[in-house]
């Protein structure tokens, strides 16, 4: 076995506009440079290969989330207290409070409601003719379903929610103009969450109202409420929007595979995983190294910040055969790290799957072909996703 002692360096900037719009070539270069690469522009280590991303995610003691999962220490200080940004035992406690509503068993009672919603949306869009994959399809779903289950009051507008979530996720990246533009929005979101933490403001019997009443009964510390309510809202928006718009783009551009799904519904779960793998909505989060540790034969020192690039791991040719090819039959596709992995693995993944599967089912029973135009891509620090894409559904 050869051991490399020096960590390769690179001037690749994954947060530059060019890299955000077309990230996969830069990811490949980072993977080829080594298992760990020093990013000169941001003074952090990038981990771009599958094996090392997986290993880091499964060693949460060394690769800690407690001091934040964003790129800069300044912004990390502002994002404490959620499941994302905590370590056990506190992490397991707050995650449990969110997970009790989001685990597969708990979601069973909502299957009919979500499938019904999906069927109505697809019917409307068939009726409409040409529409936008992002604003008319992908945003409609997370905006309608999650806030409703959380207990969003009917008299409060939801139009700001997407902007808040976008601002929140930009702030996991560098302190650039994109992040700074979001600061006023973050303030608004935080005020809103404070207001929703007051008993009586969320719809009775909702997930959120239960958290608020648990706090009133002394089962949860009250100061945790805004963060816990936020755990349902911020991470469920742009991630889902990205996955659902990529879904139309990928299936529209692979009509042969769309025909196979229409002929055999049992392909839907694998197809949804393959969509998350090849266009991973969350590009990457960081961890702070708490003790000396080898990763891929290279030594990381305590206090190093490492950027785990999920979107790159999911296209690592060391792990996947033909990673740049969309293939709904891909063996082992469920091993992707598009929902993360390990103790911070996405707590909303069952809900995302339910959303994605319901929409695929509604489409496959009604739509013969998905005609698409040219996509444009979003400029966002941590989300990979389509900005707009014209689509027509033919029955």
């Amino acid at each position: 076995m050869t051991t490399t002692t020096t960590i390769p360096r690179s001037d690749i900037d994954p947060y530059s506009d060019a890299s955000i719009l077309s990230p996969y070539e830069d990811y490949r270069r980072l993977r080829d440079l080594g298992p760990v690469v020093w990013l000169e522009t941001h003074q952090v280590f990038a981990v771009a290969r599958y094996r090392e991303v997986y290993d880091a995610l499964h060693d949460h003691t060394t690769f800690s989330s407690g001091s934040g999962v964003g790129l800069t220490e300044t912004l990390n200080k502002a994002q404490k207290g959620s499941s994302f940004t905590s370590d056990p035992p506190y992490h397991d406690y707050v995650r449990g409070l969110v997970a009790r509503h989001l685990k597969p068993k708990a979601l069973e009672q909502f299957h009919d409601y979500i499938e019904g919603w999906a069927a109505r949306l697809v019917d409307e869009l068939i009726e409409k003719g040409t529409f936008d994959a992002v604003t008319d399809f992908a945003q409609a779903f997370p905006l309608a379903v999650v806030p409703d289950l959380l207990g969003w009051p009917v008299e409060e507008g939801k139009e700001r929610l997407l902007e808040w979530a976008t601002a929140g996720f930009n702030a996991f990246g560098p302190l650039n103009d994109r992040t700074k533009a979001g600061f006023p929005l973050l303030k608004e979101m935080s005020d809103f969450l404070q207001r929703m933490s007051i008993p009586g403001n969320l719809r009775p019997d909702s997930w959120g109202a239960q958290l608020v009443s648990d706090a009133k009964d002394g089962k949860i510390e009250e100061y945790l409420l805004p963060g816990l309510l936020g755990d349902f809202l911020a991470p469920s928006m742009d991630t889902s929007v990205s996955a659902l718009s990529s879904m139309l783009w990928l299936l529209g551009s692979h009509p042969g595979q769309w025909d196979q799904i229409r002929a055999d519904e049992s392909l839907i779960p694998k197809a949804f995983n393959e969509i998350i793998r090849i266009e991973s909505p969350l590009r990457g989060f960081t961890r702070l190294v708490t003790r000396e540790r080898e990763l891929g034969g290279l030594t990381l020192e305590p206090d190093a910040r490492v950027l785990l690039l999920y979107g790159s791991a999911n296209r690592d040719e060391r792990h996947w055969t033909d990673p740049d090819t969309f293939d709904i039959h891909r063996p082992g596709v469920a091993q992707h790290v598009g929902f993360g992995h390990g103790i911070h693995g996405c707590v909303g993944q069952a809900l995302s799957r339910l959303e994605g599967h319901s929409l695929l089912k509604a489409l496959s029973t009604r739509v013969r072909s998905i005609e698409i135009g040219e996509p444009t891509w979003r400029l966002h620090n941590t989300i990979r996703g389509i900005a707009s894409l014209p689509v027509t559904l033919r029955t």
Binding site: G96, K103, K105, H341, G345, Q349
Partner: protein
């Protein structure tokens, strides 16, 4: 070798059962190892795959 489910972490995502149906059952929202978690000699690879597959690290071998 034994398969152990951490009941405080398991959320019942069922990915373990999908790769090792002879070793685990997801019932009532939790994974339960069959035969008390004892893994037969010819199922060791399946047990490791199940551990690797659990998306939230709720499963381990002992």
């Amino acid at each position: 070798m034994k398969l152990v489910v951490d009941r405080s972490r398991c959320e019942g995502h069922g990915l373990c059962e999908a790769v090792a149906p002879d070793l685990l059952r997801v019932d009532d929202g939790f994974a339960t190892p069959v035969h008390d978690g004892d893994v037969p000699a010819d199922q060791q690879d399946a047990a490791h795959s199940a551990v690797e597959m659990c998306p939230i690290a709720a499963l381990r071998t002992a």
